[in-house]
Symmetry: C2
Subunit: 141 residues, 2 copies
């Protein structure tokens, strides 16, 4: 957690308590589910560490921890598809976070679809069900 | 995966392909999000191993893997609060599963609430927002 942010000390203190009540796993992470606050669609599941949750609280935009890249992942930083956080919920065990978000551009998935959960089990196959709204090459140029 | 089930060999073959396309983590697990198919509420997040997903496919009821107990968790077995699976989705990376379910009893959480995500971040505190629908002592007796 950075001491260099613009937040006040009182905010920091409260944030510490919020973070302390989360049950971080042995890697210091929790799964974070993003759900569209309007449509109710589950958009994606990613991971957060303490710093990313702290930054999410401070900035109101979803910041995850990319396990593959080993660094903070400011959702939408390159695509513009930011997630404005309307509500944050914690589950009974304290080990999963649910974000209710306003999904900018209506696209959460790097494939250019609304939701990352675009494959549906149908007739014993995972079938792509949802359309690509925008070509990823046009998103990440 | 059990070879002793009542399923036909052809079903087994298809199930194997379905399971093979899931990116299981180093513990052989994937996170599984359960969402109410009617209300759209995210009810809980649990884990599945291959056998629990296989059993879910075969039986149409959510079966998870309890990491704390180290065994299969047939959701609702003791509470009656089964989850009838209406749809199963897989995300872009293949490492998270989304179940759209009919939640029996309208209660997914062991605390007797609809959803496990009953705590909401409000004024820098996690506040219990959702009511207990049924006393857990009456559920698990």
């Amino acid at each position: 957690m950075s001491e260099n942010s613009d937040s006040t000390h009182s905010t920091h203190s409260s944030d510490s308590e919020i973070l302390a009540q989360v049950s971080w796993n042995s890697d210091g992470l929790v799964p974070a589910i993003a759900q569209d606050a309007t449509s109710g669609r589950v958009l994606m599941m990613a991971w957060m560490n303490r710093e990313s949750l702290q930054l999410t609280l401070e900035g109101g935009r979803a910041v995850y921890w990319s396990r593959s890249r080993g660094k903070l992942w400011r959702k939408g930083e390159s695509s513009g598809h930011e997630q404005l956080v309307r509500e944050i919920r914690l589950d009974c065990d304290g080990d999963t976070v649910l974000l209710l978000v306003e999904q900018k551009g209506g696209i959460a998935c790097h494939t250019g679809r609304t939701s990352c959960f675009y494959r549906v089990l149908d007739d014993s196959q995972w079938r792509e069900r949802d359309p690509v709204i925008r070509d990823p090459e046009a998103i990440y140029k």
